[in-house]
């Protein structure tokens, strides 16, 4: 039977949405409860800056239009389960309309535009995003449940930066691929996930437009709002109508979109299972395809690692965005000789994490994005316990409503446990040990996934050796979860193919031809 240090949960009334860590780290040598009046203020970012419509139509041909399907669905704030707005539920006819509009725009306007003119539209978009950054950050937090600290400091700045970076490529494509000229593919169908809605939109739309394609993008059904607000940015930038089209709806609509015969290019970010479904759906069609799928990254810590910074890297690796990240460091591989002190420090650090109102600037860990994901995470946590791994969760009160999971740590995890193999996509870390670098590499690579990995050691030659041996598209050495528009991101093996960001990110959206 496993031991758990979980405290009994006391649910707080709905009005008090702030959760905070009431456990203190064992190193403080203190019981729960403090003798000093030190408290963090709920420092809520104001919602006022966001003007939500009660209803959002599709964005097609530069205009907001009602769905031909006549259907609508509601999007919720996962921290409170409050409805935020009604959103159009596209049907197949809406998809057909959007693709036709995108094709027309490609033929008549965007496809004919010289690169330097395309560039200027993209620069406008980047600037407007910077100007409206606070509005987007708040909206993203409301729709996803992620802490405002993250949407404000990570997501939104990266979004603007992506448009900025690719804007500059639009008129330099002749220099990107030696001896070749890069032509657009045509109409791109893009389906994105709910974990970084606006950032995934930027990763898709910026390079597509820079290369001269037009797009039809379907955001995830639980997080459509930032894409719809982005439509407003396109309007403000006077982007020619039909270049960007946003079609909201459930997964089936995404499938209908990628299957549409007049689509030249398909780009998908999401689960490996759906990625395979898409691959099967378009097999033989000749469409260009890139996939960015799941992961089960190993974060490897050697005994000479800078320990306190490694702790920060581990914590960031699995609790950033509640662990709902394809490249999350969900397996900690720690050298056996330091496993005990490291895990102790880790547990202490977990106890300082603040779980609660995502709009509170002090919050570290927000709400789980949707009910389905919450159920999956809980199922896997139960599986971990049943498999015999040892569970640790710091005590913290969780709000009454909303989708919440406490930061979770499993120790005594073996490679063959489900929690070491399956992608959990939540704030759950599995801790395994290793003895030698070879063993670490073997365990790290022993997965069908290959998106990312982390290495912590002071020794330079060992860093480079691990970098070489790890079969992963992104290797973070003495750091974790770093992103940049100039830096190509993508996976090996079943984590997908194709890269987003950097020079390599252009490849997905061009056809190379002779000069």
């Amino acid at each position: 039977m496993t031991t758990s240090r979980d405290h009994t949960v006391t649910k707080r009334p709905a009005s008090d949405a702030v959760g905070r860590g009431t456990a203190s780290p064992s190193s403080w040598g203190f019981g729960d409860g403090q003798a000093i009046p030190w408290e963090y203020a709920p420092a809520p970012e104001s919602r006022e800056i966001v003007k939500l419509q009660s209803r959002y139509g599709l964005f097609v041909g530069g205009k907001e239009i009602a769905p031909r399907s006549g259907q609508w669905f509601t999007t919720l704030d996962p921290a409170t389960e409050e409805p935020l707005a009604e959103v159009a539920r596209a049907g197949v006819e809406d998809v057909e309309n959007a693709v036709a509009v995108a094709r027309r725009a490609f033929r008549r306007s965007w496809g004919e535009l010289p690169g330097r003119e395309r560039a200027k539209y993209l620069f406008r978009i980047a600037r407007i995003l910077q100007e409206r950054s606070r509005e987007f950050a708040v909206l993203e937090t409301l729709d996803t449940g992620k802490p405002i600290k993250e949407s404000r400091d990570v997501d939104i700045p990266l979004v603007a930066a992506h448009f900025w970076y690719y804007a500059g490529w639009a008129d330099k494509l002749d220099y990107a691929f030696p001896g070749r000229t890069a032509q657009p593919l045509g109409v791109a169908a893009q389906v994105i996930p709910w974990n970084f809605p606006l950032l995934m939109l930027a990763w898709k739309i910026a390079p597509a437009l820079a290369a001269g394609n037009t797009v039809v993008l379907k955001p995830a059904s639980s997080t459509p709002l930032s894409a719809l607000l982005f439509a407003d940015v396109c309007r403000q930038a006077d982007l020619p109508p039909g270049v960007v089209n946003i079609v909201t709806g459930p997964g089936e609509i995404g499938l209908a979109l990628v299957k549409h015969p007049d689509v030249d290019k398909v780009a998908f970010t999401g689960s490996t299972a759906v990625g395979k479904q898409i691959g099967r759906a378009i097999a033989g069609s000749g469409k260009a395809l890139t996939l960015e799928l799941g992961g089960k990254a190993a974060n490897i810590v050697f005994d000479d690692a800078p320990l306190d910074q490694a702790i920060e890297g581990i914590v960031n690796g699995i609790f950033f965005n509640q662990g709902e990240v394809c490249c999350a460091g969900s397996r900690l591989l720690v050298q056996e000789s330091i496993a005990e002190p490291l895990v102790e420090k880790l547990k202490d650090r977990l106890a300082t994490l603040r779980v609660g109102d995502p709009l509170d600037k002090n919050t570290d860990v927000g709400a789980i994005n949707n009910a389905a994901q919450l159920a999956k995470i809980e199922e896997l946590i139960e599986a971990g316990v049943a498999e015999g791994a040892e569970l640790y969760q710091p005590a913290c009160d969780l709000p009454e409503r909303g989708y919440w999971v406490r930061p979770t740590l499993f120790t005594n995890v073996a490679q063959s446990h489900r929690i070491a193999q399956e992608e959990i996509f939540g704030p759950v870390l599995s801790v395994l040990t290793f003895r030698t670098p070879d063993e670490a590499v073997e365990k790290a690579n022993n997965t069908p996934y290959g998106l990312s990995a982390g290495v912590w050691t002071e020794k330079g030659s060992r860093i480079l050796k691990m970098v070489k041996e790890l079969r992963a598209g992104v290797v973070w050495a003495n750091t974790f979860n770093r992103f940049d528009p100039t830096s190509p991101f993508g996976g090996y093996k079943e984590s997908g193919f194709g890269r987003e960001g950097g020079l390599h990110g252009l490849l997905a959206y061009v056809r190379l031809e002779d000069r």
Binding site: S27, W28, F30, I36, W38, E39, A43, P306, Q309
Partner: protein, 328 residues
């Protein structure tokens, strides 16, 4: 002081230090093995963590308490060639009663002065709870002879110093003679007897966070009661990341040896906002037990007036001006 007493004190300090080394190391090892187990610090990582902590915002009630605590933690400092009895007298009045118009404002923790002015400070602070801290050991450079350093320490204590702020031998440290640095601190500690010893690392000269961590552990093992960032005579002086590194070292040291050591960032902390950021870093690393002047001090001078100004603003609701606070 008789040499026998010196020798006994020295031996006791040495054996206590060796106990600490053993406790840290988990076995009876020499200094070399001990230093090897100290670990390194990643600059980018620690700076990011410190910056992240600085973004925390605390409740208004907590903020008032923090500002009050900040005052109670200040070592009000004057360390200039031109210090005179008159200057010391004025400083000590300020230290006792920072805001003449407001008796609810507490006194600071201590004044910090050169050895020659300890007696004056002691006299000026008589009857108050404010302590006298004296710098010693060839402050600020430490580039003088061991006997002089020890004699200076003893004389400052004779003159009435409650606390001694020594400097480590950076020359020895940077040339790798860690044993010399260690032995010197042990010797000064012996001279201090019961007097509280702060060890100044002069982090601005050490060059890397790895060295700051190394020097911190070394000083604590040698018997420091407090470790302190800077003399204030070199830039950079105190910074949030350097403070974080030292606090983490203190945390690790207590965990391994059971001995709790205090910390003092000194130099360059001028505003209440900065002071509160330091308190956040302190709280997040070491928790409530260190939120006391017995375990944390600010080495500052101009900080005091800024804190007074903030307290005034929190109470009156209005931003204040420099003319409303005394310059002593």
């Amino acid at each position: 002081m008789s040499t026998t007493v010196d020798r006994i004190a020295r031996e006791r300090a040495e054996s206590e230090a060796h106990e600490l080394v053993r406790a840290w190391d988990g076995r009876a090892a020499g200094l070399g093995g001990f230093l090897g187990r100290i670990g390194n610090v990643d600059q980018v990582g620690v700076e990011e963590r410190a910056a992240g902590l600085a973004k925390r915002s605390i409740k208004r009630e907590s903020k008032l308490w923090a500002l009050d605590l900040a005052i109670r933690m200040i070592d009000l400092t004057t360390l200039e060639g031109k210090d005179t009895r008159g200057k010391i007298h004025a400083l000590c009045q300020k230290a006792k009663r920072p805001d003449p118009g407001d008796p609810t404002i507490p006194s600071v923790a201590a004044v910090c002065v050169y050895p020659a002015l300890v007696a004056d400070a002691k006299a000026a602070l008589a009857g108050s709870g404010v302590k006298v801290a004296s710098v010693a050991t060839g402050f600020p450079s430490g580039q003088t002879f061991l006997e002089i350093k020890l004699a200076e320490t003893s004389r400052a204590i004779e003159a009435g110093a409650d606390e001694v702020d020594m400097v480590i031998d950076r020359g020895a440290f940077l040339s790798g003679d860690y044993a010399a640095v260690f032995d010197e601190i042990v010797a000064v500690k012996a001279s201090c007897g019961q007097t509280h010893l702060k060890v100044i690392l002069e982090t601005g000269e050490l060059g890397t966070y790895d060295n700051v961590r190394r020097a911190s552990i070394l000083a604590m093992a040698a018997g420091a009661d407090f470790i302190k960032t800077s003399t204030g005579k070199v830039t950079p002086a105190a910074t949030l990341p350097v403070t974080l590194v030292m606090l983490e070292a203190i945390r690790d040291f207590e965990r391994r040896t059971g001995r709790a050591v205090g910390m003092k960032p000194a130099g360059g902390i001028r505003t209440s906002k900065e002071a509160i950021a330091y308190l956040v870093v302190l709280y997040e690393t070491l928790g409530p037990r260190w939120m006391t002047p017995d375990r944390f001090r600010f080495g500052a001078s101009s900080l005091l007036n800024d804190v007074l100004m903030q307290i005034r603003k929190e109470r009156d609701g209005r931003y204040s001006g420099v003319d409303y606070f005394t310059l002593d």
